[in-house]
Protein backbone atom coordinates (compact mmCIF):
# COMPACT_ATOMS: atom_id res chain seq x y z
CA UNK A 1 0.00 0.00 0.00
CA UNK A 2 2.95 2.30 0.76
CA UNK A 3 4.14 2.13 -2.88
CA UNK A 4 0.61 2.59 -4.24
CA UNK A 5 -0.15 5.60 -2.04
CA UNK A 6 1.32 8.38 -4.20
CA UNK A 7 -0.07 7.04 -7.54
CA UNK A 8 -3.50 6.55 -5.93
CA UNK A 9 -3.37 10.04 -4.41
CA UNK A 10 -2.59 11.41 -7.89
CA UNK A 11 -5.56 9.51 -9.36
CA UNK A 12 -7.86 10.90 -6.67
CA UNK A 13 -6.52 14.43 -7.23
CA UNK A 14 -7.23 14.11 -10.98
CA UNK A 15 -10.72 12.76 -10.20
CA UNK A 16 -11.40 15.79 -7.98
CA UNK A 17 -10.26 18.12 -10.78
CA UNK A 18 -12.43 16.32 -13.39
CA UNK A 19 -15.54 15.95 -11.16
CA UNK A 20 -16.60 19.65 -11.24
CA UNK A 21 -16.61 19.57 -15.06
CA UNK A 22 -18.84 16.46 -15.10
CA UNK A 23 -21.08 18.03 -12.47
CA UNK A 24 -21.30 21.30 -14.43
CA UNK A 25 -22.43 19.34 -17.50
CA UNK A 26 -25.07 17.38 -15.56
CA UNK A 27 -28.65 18.64 -16.05
CA UNK A 28 -30.36 20.92 -13.51
CA UNK A 29 -32.98 19.47 -11.18
CA UNK A 30 -36.47 20.75 -12.08
CA UNK A 31 -37.50 22.28 -8.73
CA UNK A 32 -34.17 23.27 -7.14
CA UNK A 33 -32.12 24.32 -10.16
CA UNK A 34 -28.43 25.10 -9.73
CA UNK A 35 -28.26 24.59 -5.94
CA UNK A 36 -29.11 20.88 -6.32
CA UNK A 37 -25.57 20.40 -7.67
CA UNK A 38 -24.33 20.49 -4.05
CA UNK A 39 -25.78 16.94 -4.02
CA UNK A 40 -22.70 15.68 -5.95
CA UNK A 41 -20.41 16.59 -3.03
CA UNK A 42 -22.87 16.42 -0.14
CA UNK A 43 -24.01 12.79 -0.50
CA UNK A 44 -20.53 11.38 -1.34
CA UNK A 45 -19.22 13.13 1.81
CA UNK A 46 -21.70 11.05 3.84
CA UNK A 47 -20.73 7.90 1.92
CA UNK A 48 -17.08 8.57 2.78
CA UNK A 49 -18.11 9.10 6.40
CA UNK A 50 -20.07 5.82 6.47
CA UNK A 51 -17.03 3.97 5.09
CA UNK A 52 -14.82 5.46 7.82
CA UNK A 53 -17.45 4.64 10.46
CA UNK A 54 -17.59 1.04 9.23
CA UNK A 55 -13.80 0.74 9.56
CA UNK A 56 -13.87 2.35 13.01
CA UNK A 57 -16.74 0.12 14.18
CA UNK A 58 -15.25 -3.19 13.01
CA UNK A 59 -11.78 -2.27 14.32
CA UNK A 60 -13.27 -1.16 17.66
CA UNK A 61 -15.08 -4.50 18.02
CA UNK A 62 -11.82 -6.37 17.31
CA UNK A 63 -9.95 -4.17 19.79
CA UNK A 64 -12.60 -4.62 22.49
CA UNK A 65 -12.69 -8.41 22.22
CA UNK A 66 -9.08 -9.21 21.26
CA UNK A 67 -7.11 -6.16 22.41
CA UNK A 68 -5.07 -5.94 19.18
CA UNK A 69 -3.20 -2.58 19.14
CA UNK A 70 -3.34 -2.27 15.34
CA UNK A 71 -7.14 -2.60 15.49
CA UNK A 72 -7.14 0.38 17.86
CA UNK A 73 -5.07 2.33 15.32
CA UNK A 74 -7.67 1.58 12.59
CA UNK A 75 -10.53 2.53 14.93
CA UNK A 76 -8.92 5.87 15.77
CA UNK A 77 -8.14 6.59 12.09
CA UNK A 78 -11.72 5.73 11.10
CA UNK A 79 -13.17 8.03 13.74
CA UNK A 80 -10.96 10.95 12.66
CA UNK A 81 -11.79 10.55 8.97
CA UNK A 82 -15.48 10.14 9.83
CA UNK A 83 -15.44 13.47 11.68
CA UNK A 84 -13.78 15.24 8.72
CA UNK A 85 -16.31 13.96 6.16
CA UNK A 86 -19.20 14.38 8.59
CA UNK A 87 -18.23 18.03 8.96
CA UNK A 88 -18.22 18.34 5.14
CA UNK A 89 -21.75 16.90 5.05
CA UNK A 90 -22.95 19.12 7.88
CA UNK A 91 -21.62 22.28 6.21
CA UNK A 92 -22.68 21.53 2.61
CA UNK A 93 -26.19 20.47 3.74
CA UNK A 94 -27.22 23.80 5.30
CA UNK A 95 -25.73 25.69 2.31
CA UNK A 96 -28.05 23.64 0.10
CA UNK A 97 -30.99 23.99 2.52
CA UNK A 98 -30.67 27.79 2.77
CA UNK A 99 -31.51 28.14 -0.92
CA UNK A 100 -33.77 25.08 -1.38
CA UNK A 101 -35.81 25.35 1.85
CA UNK A 102 -35.19 28.98 2.77
CA UNK A 103 -33.62 28.03 6.14
CA UNK A 104 -30.14 26.92 7.21
CA UNK A 105 -31.36 24.18 9.51
CA UNK A 106 -34.46 22.15 10.36
CA UNK A 107 -34.61 20.03 13.51
CA UNK A 108 -36.05 17.12 11.57
CA UNK A 109 -35.06 13.48 12.03
CA UNK A 110 -32.38 13.22 9.32
CA UNK A 111 -30.56 16.44 10.15
CA UNK A 112 -30.72 15.92 13.91
CA UNK A 113 -29.55 12.28 13.81
CA UNK A 114 -26.74 13.20 11.39
CA UNK A 115 -25.58 15.89 13.83
CA UNK A 116 -25.74 13.38 16.70
CA UNK A 117 -23.71 10.85 14.71
CA UNK A 118 -21.03 13.49 14.12
CA UNK A 119 -21.06 14.38 17.83
CA UNK A 120 -20.66 10.69 18.82
CA UNK A 121 -17.42 10.50 16.83
CA UNK A 122 -16.26 13.88 18.14
CA UNK A 123 -16.89 12.38 21.61
CA UNK A 124 -14.77 9.37 20.57
CA UNK A 125 -11.84 11.65 19.72
CA UNK A 126 -12.26 13.67 22.93
CA UNK A 127 -12.31 10.48 25.03
CA UNK A 128 -9.12 9.36 23.25
CA UNK A 129 -7.43 12.68 23.89
CA UNK A 130 -8.53 13.52 27.41
CA UNK A 131 -9.72 10.17 28.82
CA UNK A 132 -6.43 9.17 30.43
CA UNK A 133 -5.28 5.55 30.86
CA UNK A 134 -7.74 2.97 29.55
CA UNK A 135 -9.57 5.51 27.40
CA UNK A 136 -9.05 3.32 24.33
CA UNK A 137 -11.59 0.74 25.55
CA UNK A 138 -14.16 3.40 26.45
CA UNK A 139 -13.61 5.06 23.06
CA UNK A 140 -14.02 1.69 21.28
CA UNK A 141 -17.40 1.23 22.98
CA UNK A 142 -18.37 4.75 21.87
CA UNK A 143 -17.40 3.88 18.28
CA UNK A 144 -19.53 0.72 18.41
CA UNK A 145 -22.47 2.80 19.60
CA UNK A 146 -21.88 5.29 16.76
CA UNK A 147 -21.62 2.51 14.18
CA UNK A 148 -24.91 1.02 15.35
CA UNK A 149 -26.52 4.48 14.98
CA UNK A 150 -25.34 5.01 11.37
CA UNK A 151 -27.93 2.74 9.60
CA UNK A 152 -30.75 4.55 11.42
CA UNK A 153 -29.41 7.90 10.21
CA UNK A 154 -29.33 6.61 6.62
CA UNK A 155 -32.82 5.07 6.70
CA UNK A 156 -34.40 7.85 8.81
CA UNK A 157 -35.70 9.69 5.71
CA UNK A 158 -37.63 6.59 4.62
CA UNK A 159 -39.05 5.80 8.06
CA UNK A 160 -40.08 9.26 9.29
CA UNK A 161 -41.62 12.23 7.49
CA UNK A 162 -38.86 14.79 6.89
CA UNK A 163 -38.05 17.74 4.62
CA UNK A 164 -34.87 15.95 3.47
CA UNK A 165 -34.95 14.05 0.13
CA UNK A 166 -35.44 10.28 0.50
CA UNK A 167 -32.81 7.61 -0.21
CA UNK A 168 -34.80 6.57 -3.31
CA UNK A 169 -33.46 9.62 -5.23
CA UNK A 170 -30.10 7.87 -5.73
CA UNK A 171 -31.21 4.58 -7.40
CA UNK A 172 -33.73 6.50 -9.53
CA UNK A 173 -31.20 9.03 -10.87
CA UNK A 174 -31.23 9.43 -14.67
CA UNK A 175 -27.92 8.39 -16.29
CA UNK A 176 -27.08 12.05 -17.03
CA UNK A 177 -27.13 12.71 -13.27
CA UNK A 178 -26.16 9.21 -12.12
CA UNK A 179 -22.87 9.19 -14.06
CA UNK A 180 -21.37 12.31 -12.45
CA UNK A 181 -22.74 11.21 -9.07
CA UNK A 182 -21.11 7.74 -9.32
CA UNK A 183 -17.81 9.37 -10.38
CA UNK A 184 -17.92 11.80 -7.48
CA UNK A 185 -18.90 9.07 -5.00
CA UNK A 186 -16.00 6.90 -6.19
CA UNK A 187 -13.58 9.84 -5.79
CA UNK A 188 -14.79 10.45 -2.21
CA UNK A 189 -14.61 6.75 -1.28
CA UNK A 190 -11.05 6.51 -2.67
CA UNK A 191 -10.09 9.69 -0.83
CA UNK A 192 -11.54 8.31 2.39
CA UNK A 193 -9.51 5.10 1.93
CA UNK A 194 -6.32 7.07 1.30
CA UNK A 195 -6.84 9.29 4.34
CA UNK A 196 -7.48 6.18 6.45
CA UNK A 197 -4.27 4.59 5.13
CA UNK A 198 -2.22 7.72 5.86
CA UNK A 199 -3.70 8.04 9.34
CA UNK A 200 -3.05 4.35 10.14
CA UNK A 201 0.56 4.75 8.94
CA UNK A 202 0.93 7.69 11.34
CA UNK A 203 -0.48 5.57 14.20
CA UNK A 204 1.95 2.71 13.42
CA UNK A 205 4.94 5.09 13.50
CA UNK A 206 3.64 6.55 16.77
CA UNK A 207 3.47 3.03 18.23
CA UNK A 208 7.11 2.48 17.21
CA UNK A 209 8.10 5.70 19.01
CA UNK A 210 6.24 4.56 22.15
CA UNK A 211 7.97 1.14 22.04
CA UNK A 212 11.40 2.80 21.66
CA UNK A 213 10.69 5.13 24.60
CA UNK A 214 9.73 2.12 26.73
CA UNK A 215 12.88 0.25 25.64
CA UNK A 216 15.00 3.27 26.67
CA UNK A 217 13.31 3.44 30.07
CA UNK A 218 13.96 -0.28 30.64
CA UNK A 219 17.70 0.12 29.97
CA UNK A 220 19.91 0.18 33.13
Amino acid sequence: MKKAFIPLLSVVAVMFVVAPFLIANAPYESTMGLIQKIFYYHVPSWFAMYLAIGVSGVASAIYLFKGTPIADAYANAGAEVAVVFGLCGLITGPLWGRVAWGVWWQWDVRLTTALLLELIFVAYLMVRRYGGPGAEKLAAATALFGTATAPFVYKSVDIWRTVHPQTSVIPTLKPSMGGPFAFSALAFLLLSTLLLTARVHLAKRQMMVDQLYLAHEDQP
Binding site: I91, R205, L212
Partner: protein
Protein backbone atom coordinates in the same frame (compact mmCIF):
# COMPACT_ATOMS: atom_id res chain seq x y z
CA UNK B 1 -47.69 84.14 -4.93
CA UNK B 2 -44.00 83.31 -4.37
CA UNK B 3 -44.92 80.44 -2.05
CA UNK B 4 -47.18 78.58 -4.48
CA UNK B 5 -44.41 76.79 -6.50
CA UNK B 6 -42.71 75.76 -3.25
CA UNK B 7 -45.99 74.43 -1.92
CA UNK B 8 -46.59 72.45 -5.12
CA UNK B 9 -43.04 71.07 -5.02
CA UNK B 10 -43.39 69.96 -1.43
CA UNK B 11 -46.65 68.20 -2.35
CA UNK B 12 -44.94 66.39 -5.23
CA UNK B 13 -42.01 65.33 -3.00
CA UNK B 14 -44.25 63.84 -0.32
CA UNK B 15 -43.16 60.32 0.72
CA UNK B 16 -45.48 57.56 -0.47
CA UNK B 17 -48.17 56.53 2.01
CA UNK B 18 -47.24 53.71 4.40
CA UNK B 19 -48.20 50.16 3.50
CA UNK B 20 -51.76 49.55 4.64
CA UNK B 21 -51.78 45.77 4.20
CA UNK B 22 -49.48 42.80 3.55
CA UNK B 23 -50.37 40.69 0.52
CA UNK B 24 -49.19 37.08 0.82
CA UNK B 25 -47.65 35.24 -2.16
CA UNK B 26 -46.47 31.66 -2.30
CA UNK B 27 -43.29 32.28 -4.25
CA UNK B 28 -40.67 35.01 -4.14
CA UNK B 29 -40.28 37.19 -7.22
CA UNK B 30 -37.41 35.83 -9.34
CA UNK B 31 -35.32 38.96 -8.75
CA UNK B 32 -35.46 38.45 -4.97
CA UNK B 33 -34.53 34.78 -4.84
CA UNK B 34 -31.15 33.90 -3.30
CA UNK B 35 -28.56 33.34 -6.00
CA UNK B 36 -27.40 29.71 -5.78
CA UNK B 37 -23.87 30.07 -7.21
CA UNK B 38 -22.15 31.56 -4.10
CA UNK B 39 -23.63 28.82 -1.90
CA UNK B 40 -22.56 26.13 -4.37
CA UNK B 41 -19.01 27.50 -4.60
CA UNK B 42 -18.80 27.80 -0.78
CA UNK B 43 -19.90 24.15 -0.39
CA UNK B 44 -17.31 22.85 -2.87
CA UNK B 45 -14.56 25.09 -1.49
CA UNK B 46 -15.26 24.00 2.08
CA UNK B 47 -14.83 20.31 1.19
CA UNK B 48 -11.53 21.04 -0.56
CA UNK B 49 -10.21 23.17 2.31
CA UNK B 50 -11.30 20.67 4.99
CA UNK B 51 -9.66 17.71 3.23
CA UNK B 52 -6.46 19.66 2.48
CA UNK B 53 -6.28 20.87 6.08
CA UNK B 54 -6.71 17.33 7.41
CA UNK B 55 -4.08 15.99 5.02
CA UNK B 56 -1.73 18.77 6.19
CA UNK B 57 -2.30 17.86 9.87
CA UNK B 58 -1.44 14.20 9.12
CA UNK B 59 1.71 15.26 7.26
CA UNK B 60 2.74 17.59 10.13
CA UNK B 61 2.17 14.91 12.80
CA UNK B 62 4.05 12.35 10.69
CA UNK B 63 7.04 14.69 10.39
CA UNK B 64 7.10 15.12 14.16
CA UNK B 65 6.92 11.36 14.76
CA UNK B 66 9.70 10.73 12.22
CA UNK B 67 11.86 13.32 14.00
CA UNK B 68 11.21 11.56 17.33
CA UNK B 69 12.10 8.21 15.76
CA UNK B 70 15.38 9.62 14.40
CA UNK B 71 16.24 11.13 17.79
CA UNK B 72 15.53 7.84 19.57
CA UNK B 73 17.49 5.84 17.00
CA UNK B 74 20.51 8.09 17.59
CA UNK B 75 20.22 7.58 21.37
CA UNK B 76 19.96 3.79 21.05
CA UNK B 77 23.41 2.18 21.44
CA UNK B 78 24.61 0.12 18.45
CA UNK B 79 24.90 -3.61 19.28
Amino acid sequence: MMLIPQLLLSLVLQPPPGQSEFVPVNELPVAERLPAAPFLICAYAFVWVAVMFYLWTIWRRLNKVEADLDALARKTPQR
